[in-house]
């Protein structure tokens, strides 16, 4: 059969340009294509074992087995628009602690963190028109996309201090003050991506003070609860502080990293409101957005999380898993730092130890990064962000030497 495409047909797509590959996934794609045996993937924020392999948490395996053992009772029926109710309950508990018991918390299941950010962004553009959103400089590469895609005007607030490799607290406060009253402020709950720099408890209180004075709306992104300190409640400190002060906020929650469920897309969008009625109103509007985007969320991942978090034994076991993961990351921070110190690599490097969570903002410049990729087959983002989970006892020395080389090469 010969296919004849009629030239009379539409030309609608003839002007569609080829889009550039995604900044983060694009780097990973290059890594996959690289045939060097020395290659190291420090690009994506996905946990790896010391063998450089993905880790399926034992509690996840147990939950999967439970599903199978349910036999006929385990099916693939639609969840409701706001997802699995048991999942919402346990997810709220993890995030809000005691505040979860109150009826002023609105919560819906979402497509992991990104999907929940998207629903929140759509909600803001529909119901809080004219609001701009302020995101930290720098922030996760996809944040700006999510918000501009929903029609929100995006501005930045000062965050990272390149001189100290720490928090530019004064700049942060200044920009919060200068933003028009009632602006939306995106905050990373803990383990800031990409810098690993988090405010201290005292700084969070100062931030909360300004946000209250200016009547800003906080939008927390929490993708690493449990990964920062290994303690769930400590990692949620800022949120509980805000809740205690009765501050309205939105929260996008992801179980990608802390459950290793990346591709199953498990998360929630929740809100701290002033009353049960408001919570109900928000839930209903979140659902309307979800219904015209994808109808209802995927079932499998939510079930796994619900099984684990509602079983006291599995819950404890999960917390141990968090300690294992955050512990290994801290070990690698120490190992990299030690290796660099040993080589007496020029520059200040203790930010490797001070920064928190999955990522380190190395401070390497784009030329140095390019050399790492092209000459050493070490894959990281052009911003100099490395994922600590990609480091192992087998490659840390190689990495340290490569960093030493590119720094000394005066690129």
């Amino acid at each position: 059969r010969i296919l004849v495409y009629k030239t009379l047909n539409h030309n609608m797509f003839s002007e569609v340009p080829v889009a550039p590959p995604d900044a983060i996934f694009g780097v990973k794609d290059r890594y996959v294509k690289d045939s060097s045996k020395d290659k190291v993937n420090l690009s994506i924020g996905a946990y790896r074992t010391n063998e450089g392999l993905p880790w399926v948490l034992p509690v996840v395996e147990k939950a999967r087995n439970q599903l199978v053992n349910m036999g006929q009772d385990y099916n693939h029926e639609y969840l409701s628009i706001d997802g699995l109710s048991e999942f919402r309950r346990v997810a709220a508990n993890i995030l809000w602690g005691e505040y979860a018991q109150n009826d002023n918390i609105a919560i819906v299941q979402g497509l992991s963190g990104t999907g929940s950010l998207y629903t929140g962004a759509k909600f803001i553009s529909k119901f809080l028109p004219g609001k701009s959103i302020y995101i930290p400089n720098p922030t996760w590469g996809n944040h700006k996309n999510v918000f501009t895609n929903s029609g929100l005007e995006v501005h930045e607030y000062a965050y990272y201090d390149t001189d100290t490799n720490g928090l530019d607290y004064d700049g942060f406060i200044r920009d919060l003050k200068n933003a028009p009253d009632g602006s939306v402020i995106l905050l990373h709950l803990c383990a800031h991506n990409p810098t690993g720099v988090d405010p201290t408890a005292e700084q969070w209180q100062g931030i909360a003070d300004i946000i209250q004075q200016k009547d800003h709306l906080s939008f927390f992104d929490t993708a690493y609860q449990g990964f920062a300190t290994g303690d769930l409640d400590a990692d949620a400190y800022a949120l509980r502080l805000f809740a205690d002060r009765g501050m309205n906020c939105l929260v996008a929650q992801s179980f990608s990293k802390n459950f290793g469920l990346y591709g199953e897309r498990v998360g929630t969008l929740s809100a701290f409101t002033n009353s049960a009625e408001e919570a109900e109103a928000l839930n209903s509007q979140f659902k309307r957005i979800i219904r015209v985007t994808y109808s209802n969320p995927p079932s499998f991942g939510a079930r796994v999380v619900a099984i684990v978090l509602s079983d006291p034994e599995l819950f404890e076991e999960w917390k141990e898993c968090l300690k294992i993961m955050s512990g290994r990351i801290n070990d690698m921070r120490q190992a990299l730092y030690d290796a660099i110190q040993e080589k007496e690599t020029p520059g200040e490097w203790n930010h490797i130890l001070k920064q928190i969570g999955m990522f380190t903002y190395t401070g390497l410049n784009p030329k140095q990064v390019q050399s790492l990729i092209e000459d050493y087959h070490i894959y990281l983002l052009s911003t100099g962000r490395i994922s600590m989970a990609g480091i192992t006892t087998s490659n840390v020395e190689y990495l340290a030497q490569a960093i030493d080389d590119v720094v000394r090469a005066n690129l």
Partner: protein, 425 residues
């Protein structure tokens, strides 16, 4: 230190009452203007049904297949696929913005048939709805007009999806008001439309009417689309469900492609693999050539990334396993036949039941219509009677899901529909 701060604040929190009013700081009025949204029509029916204590209640609302025992049907091929996947100790890593290549290839082949020369940009999506939404977002960016045409009637969610994507949703005539297709009206409306209009078509088993064009009618439509240079957009949620035969049910799409059109196709595995809640689907756009394919593929991914980054893998894994394993695929084909046969059987039983109940009306449309749904022709008042007096749940447009019928309830349903049909409008 942190723990102590948290504890102190928890203690303060506990001493307040449940509905929080913070008098220390001015409570923000952030949400005060947010109104309570309306309950979703179709899914709200389930809630009402669940709460109904009547032991004779029947749910003819949502289009989810049920066995003759009224239970959800987990296909055996899916069960075996899942068992294999769990045994394989797979991880849960991200699958890539457009899903895996294997899944996309298999999905493409299912819709278009094996055709290595066909250039199709394919991305995995969040079932059919997600495919529609991504298509809507993408099309709005590249089409210079703002209109999309859907059948009157169409699936309830089509309209808000496209509206939210920024389209003016217009309709073309479809249902003739009397159980059949208003084909001449449809042709007229297609001729009236401006050239290059985007026209949404149901590939088979039209939802909600169950009325499909015949093959000859599809052929005529293809010619007309050529003359008007319209853009065919097929929604394929029931491939396999209409006739139990995959090729048959893809006739419309393949005919158009054969004739040289480059359709957009949204595909769902919710019904034909019973994977409803796992949200597995795909969006296909037939491209002019490999270059256009590449451009389309990259732009679809650009649209997906800010919405949810990448699609859920579990359901896609199940589909991949079933479609790529010859034994499982064979099993699947037999299970599709089983499902569509049972639906056919219920249609006939229902008509029989109506006759036995004493109805003299012409219920031929029940057996003429095809797929999961039937447009009964009942009015809103008659529908209300069914819901309120008989605890039989259906949507206000008179649409029933045949899969909700079984040997135990068919006579009750038939009698109730007969009695409701006697009520004056």
């Amino acid at each position: 230190m942190l723990a102590r701060i948290i504890q102190r604040q928890s203690n303060r929190r506990l001493s307040r009452n449940k509905t929080h009013t913070n008098t220390r700081f001015i409570a923000t009025k952030t949400w005060s203007k947010v109104k309570l949204g309306p309950v979703d029509a179709i899914l709200g029916l389930n809630v009402a049904f669940n709460q109904d204590p009547n032991p004779k209640k029947v749910n003819l609302g949502v289009g989810a297949y049920r066995t003759n025992e009224g239970k959800p049907f987990v296909l055996e091929c899916v069960r075996e696929a899942e068992s294999a996947i769990f045994k394989g100790k797979n991880n849960h890593e991200y699958s890539g913005i457009g899903g895996t290549e294997k899944f996309c290839d298999l999905s493409r082949e299912l819709v278009f048939g094996p055709d290595p020369d066909l250039n199709v940009a394919t991305v995995q999506t969040i079932s059919g709805t997600g495919a529609l939404r991504v298509a809507g977002e993408f099309l709005r960016k590249y089409v210079d007009h703002k209109d999309i045409y859907v059948s009157d009637p169409t699936w309830g969610n089509h309209i808000p999806i496209f509206r939210d994507s920024g389209f003016n949703v217009k309709t073309y005539r479809y249902y003739d008001g009397d159980g059949g297709l208003d084909f001449e009206g449809m042709i007229e409306d297609l001729e009236e439309m401006p050239e290059n209009s985007i026209v949404l078509l149901h590939a088979c088993a039209h939802n909600p009417t169950g009325i499909d064009p015949t093959k000859e009618q599809w052929n005529r439509l293809s010619s007309l689309f050529d003359v008007k240079k319209h853009i065919p957009f097929f929604d394929s949620a029931y491939q396999g469900f209409a006739t139990g035969n995959l090729e048959n049910d893809a006739y419309s799409i393949r005919r158009f492609v054969n004739d040289g059109h480059r359709p957009i196709v949204t595909q769902s595995y919710a019904k034909n693999m019973g994977l409803y809640g796992e949200r597995v689907g795909a969006l296909h756009i037939v491209a002019r050539d490999a270059m256009e394919l590449n451009a389309l593929d990259s732009q679809l991914k650009i649209n997906i990334r800010p919405m949810y980054s990448n699609p859920p893998i579990h359901g896609a894994r199940l589909v991949t396993e079933v479609l790529s394993n010859p034994e499982l695929k064979k099993l699947w084909l037999s299970e599709i036949v089983e499902m569509s046969d049972r639906i056919q059987h219920c249609r006939h039983r229902l008509v029989g039941g109506l006759k036995n109940a004493g109805s003299t009306k012409d219920w031929g449309h029940i057996t003429n219509q095809i797929g999961m749904f039937c447009y009964t022709g009942l009015s809103m008042e008659q529908v209300d009677t069914l819901v309120n007096n008989y605890s039989i749940y259906l949507t206000k447009d008179g649409r029933i899901s045949i899969a909700g019928i079984n040997d135990d309830n068919v006579d009750y349903v038939a009698t109730a529909i007969h009695e409701a049909s006697l009520i004056e409008n």
